[in-house]
């Protein structure tokens, strides 16, 4: 079940990234292509088999996990910028790119890197599950490391949430409102990841489902906006005729 979710998420994301290659080459909104590409890489690295291959190349001390965290940070940062710009959420934009946003990013990154190097990280293991089991100390450190890694995406998605909720209730095209709804659900899912430390271990599957729901919602939401634009181009002037009455 979880494997299916992982690979289908990867496939969805990879397909969308591939589909954006032509427009990226034409120079239209390249950053969207980067977002999809980064997300694809992030999902790839969160799956056991590819993770082991990449980590082996990086020395087998789970540096790939740290890399994964920063790829996620980069992707969510660009998502935040694009979405706040697009939806005209100036306040949210400042909260992400302004001093507050930078401070949050810096502090979280420092904590994350610091904790990472305190962990005895030898022995490749996706999600650091084997590393966490090595000792009581490692277990606690991995929990903190994970929390730091989830903190920045949660911050950005919570900042985005009000603008998305507003957009759902607006008079924008239906597809765009649907997309905003998906981004909002994804944002809530990411924010929920902050609660993982209190989730009982036997509910491990819930964590996976929330993680991949969040990624899927974001990716599909962004793709929907793109689809809405393509659709509006196909019937040029359709929304405009009413303005010309």
């Amino acid at each position: 079940m979880i494997e299916i979710l992982q690979w289908s998420t990867l496939a969805t994301c990879g397909l969308i990234a591939a589909a954006r290659v032509p427009s990226a080459i034409r120079g239209e909104n390249r950053s969207l292509f980067y977002i999809f590409a980064l997300m694809t890489v992030a999902i790839l690295l969160s799956i056991e088999a590819p993770y082991l291959v990449v980590d082996a190349a990086l020395g087998g001390v789970n540096l790939a996990n740290l890399l994964l965290r920063f790829i996620i940070f980069a992707a969510i940062y660009f998502v935040g910028i694009r979405v706040t710009r697009g939806f005209g959420a100036d306040h949210a934009y400042r909260l992400i790119t302004g001093k507050t946003g930078m401070a949050v990013l810096l502090v979280i990154s420092l904590v994350m890197v610091g904790v990472f190097f305190l962990i005895d990280t030898s022995g490749s293991s996706a999600g650091l599950s084997a590393v966490s089991g090595k000792s009581e100390r490692n277990f606690v450190l991995v929990e903190y490391y994970g929390a730091a890694g989830r903190a920045y995406p949660s911050y950005v998605s919570l900042v985005l949430l009000p603008a998305m909720v507003r957009a759902v209730g607006s008079r924008l095209p239906v597809l765009v409102r649907l997309a905003a709804g998906l981004l909002a659900v994804g944002g809530v899912a990411i924010a929920l990841t902050l609660l993982f430390p209190v989730v009982p271990p036997e509910w491990g599957a819930v964590e996976f489902i929330i993680n991949y729901t969040a990624v899927l919602c974001f990716v599909v939401g962004l793709a929907l906006i793109w689809a809405a634009r393509v659709r509006s181009r196909r019937r040029p002037g359709a929304p405009k005729t009413s303005t010309e009455m």
Partner: protein
Amino acid sequence: MTLPAKAFQRWLQGVAPEASTADVCRISGIKRTTLAQQLVRGKVSVTTVVSISRAYGINPVAALADFEAYRQLADPQPPPTRCELVSQISTADLLEAVLARPAMDPGSEAGDVPPALSPAPHATSVKNWVDAIDDGEVRHRVSAATGIAPQNYSAQLTANRLTAELAVATARAAGVGLADGLVATGLVTEREAGWAPGARRAALDSLSDGDLAVLAGDRLQALGKVLRRQEQDQAQTEKIWENLG
């Protein structure tokens, strides 16, 4: 909103006793699948009855009066008020009438034959009609009488729509001719509702220059608001395309 299929069958028996369903559809131009679906669901739309009665040379208002919910349409109705008549003149025709008034251009010669008014309904005819008959409490009374939520009622008016049932209920609440709302929604024509030919032109001509100018101003202001809102929505959508499309 819809009429019970049983009552419809009985009515159809009286109108076209010999005709098969296929004949009725062919003559009235209704798609066979549409009528079949309505009969299966047990709910026949009001427009179906209007189309069929027109095809068989029956006044659609009289035809509707054969149904329980619309029985009162058969009672003698008061003629439309001047406000109602003027409300069913399109904004473009009103503006043209303003320009044709000697007060607008004292140098010009009167006596040109005024161009014919375009037939009701027009782009904002439903809202203009309700505004014309509203004593300030009509919307309230309609929602009390029919149970429709005020915001749903307003939404219909804004979309220039009103179900036949609500149109009749509104007319009843305002104490005007019960078929008048059906004209405003475009379900029946002025003539079918018993409005005298040329009544709208006469009402328009009876307006003083001042009243006409103020009325046209109100219409322009409302139009301006709608257009501005559409332009803002459009601009916001463009911004989303630009950043996320």
